[in-house]
Symmetry: C2
Subunit: 397 residues, 2 copies
Amino acid sequence: MAQRHLDPPTDPTAGPTTGPSRKLSTAPPLSTPLERGDPREQGGAPAGEALAEYLRAQATEFLRSLRRHREAGDGGPPARAKSRTGEGGGTGDFGDAALALRRSARRISGTLHTFRALLDAEWSEAMRPELAWLSGTLAREHAYAARLDRLLLALHRLSGSSAFPTQTTGAAEGAGSRDRADAVPERGNLTVGAAKAGALLERQLTLARTRAHSAALQAIGSSRFHAVADSVALLASEVPLTPAAATADLRPQAAAAEERLTDAVAALPLVTAGHPYNAEALVHGLSPDPAPHPQDGPWHQVRLLLRLHRYAREVLYGPYGENPAVDVRLLAAGQALNRHRDASEAAAAAAAAARTPRIAPATAYALGVLHADQRHEVEAARFAFQLSWQKQAVGTP
Amino acid sequence: MAQRHLDPPTDPTAGPTTGPSRKLSTAPPLSTPLERGDPREQGGAPAGEALAEYLRAQATEFLRSLRRHREAGDGGPPARAKSRTGEGGGTGDFGDAALALRRSARRISGTLHTFRALLDAEWSEAMRPELAWLSGTLAREHAYAARLDRLLLALHRLSGSSAFPTQTTGAAEGAGSRDRADAVPERGNLTVGAAKAGALLERQLTLARTRAHSAALQAIGSSRFHAVADSVALLASEVPLTPAAATADLRPQAAAAEERLTDAVAALPLVTAGHPYNAEALVHGLSPDPAPHPQDGPWHQVRLLLRLHRYAREVLYGPYGENPAVDVRLLAAGQALNRHRDASEAAAAAAAAARTPRIAPATAYALGVLHADQRHEVEAARFAFQLSWQKQAVGTP
């Protein structure tokens, strides 16, 4: 069974390597895998079959989201991200479907990586970058929208204004608002500097979001995307396990993923992070180096490793987990690292906006305050991660 | 004995009320009180005599510092505050003597207030504003120097530059450097924005410090100052206790001072302050209101009440205290509140500098980052105060 997926009609290993130039005459079979991919009862120690089960379920979910995404169509670039918690993105069902697509793509990609020893190596190594491309392309639009929301919220918080405008005038105009460089929309109690900083960020991030939206639409219509969808469709019916995988124990691979995580966490400056107000995150706040803070890198890496660890646990223990306390804490640790990433990128966006030529000093001042505020959010997120990680270490048997 | 001090040659109650216009034909008798003011053994429950003893000792210390101050002479406006911990100020012995003068003046003034029921009311209420004027005038120069040091240190920290310049070029020029508005001294690894922000702050705060220095010199030569010194010289020999004070218990007054402190602390948002990274201190970071943050007021008030409480404990228990653990914690709580005040004022100085007309956007950006950094120092200081206060509450029997 392991190699059957390599047969025609479409060759999933060929798709990713030939990439965008590849043409598909037919759309992937969306409905068949949904019926075939029904979760089955799972018994005994987690072995190869549990892995196949998980991959089939995620592939099925991917195809379902893809169908929803197509049915919802393109609602145009969204005026504002749906939610301010960083969970929403895009508009309505279209954005939700994109989120769900990414969710499955990440899980498939991560699982292929963690359990690569039990899978057809060439196939899974070829598929991962394609899934990463897809997931990254779909993520960008949402990320810009969420970043803008985060920064506008912060500007209002820093202005002592609790009222958050439900609709700012600039946003509705999309990329076109960049022509109104000096227009400052009515922003309640903001200073001129804060209002102008908000308008500048809105202009820059809305433009980036609109471009990301177009890129995502273009990607979804591309042959490269069809090839990925094809591969996932095949995965929904047949998982390319190695011959030995069916009876192999999954736990060593999952343990290795956990070890990579704990090694990476051990290298983090957790003692410093555990001292509130250590002022580390802003150490390069005025550094001449315009590159993103290099100190953030190891934390971003841990975020990815934590995700792989969580997915490996999903493979082993199913959707209801093994130990709810551990799962909740892993989730909390992951959320802290998401907040870390979001604040890090928002701080960089504020710093980048401050380098716009010919801005007013008041605008630059507000962007400086905003940058520092977000770098403190970075530090706060590290503190939160460290707290949940210590609980984790205590809570894990 | 209580009223004897009102006799000629100089009338201490007249001095403060007639103020600067009052002329003294002779300098206050500096040497006599030093010999008469030797501390005596103190026995039994703290009563009026302990209060008199404390006031005499502080008055003696005041006169000793005054003599040192005069002997050291005026070294000119100092190029840089002596210490970066906020403890130094002015230059060498001159600055040290000013610090010691203020230290005694604060203690005398605070003690007159706390134990006013046991002292000649009219006299002590007239003397306190004069001591406050003296103390405030002497404090200003040091405060500007320490503020500049704090801000330049922060600029270097925020630039990831561990090296602190021992002597910046602008500082040595004193107020004259304000003519070089566009000159940016060599500042190692600072960005242009951080370097210009540093130069601007140095110019503004050096000018303020130089003016404060002149004002302090003028104050020390004034008849108003001579009148205060006269009053203190009399206090060193005779304390105006009320007839009932000699046998009165000091503890009710000291307890009332403590109660004023604990009431004020109870009104502080300590629960919020105890949650690290609550982001409260920067809530008005971009507020249109240019006034200092009103949220800082109650903390500044607690700083003053804590000082009064500490001085009352000094009166009751002498220089070696009653419970070293409590004294150490009160000191730590007081230091946290000093840091709160210093950071609050430094943040305001950065915000004020950003309102200088025609500054470059990069300068304004750096000042924004600096402002936010100092507001986070404010928040960190509140967290530290809350920690030492909780320990206090647990540690106090």
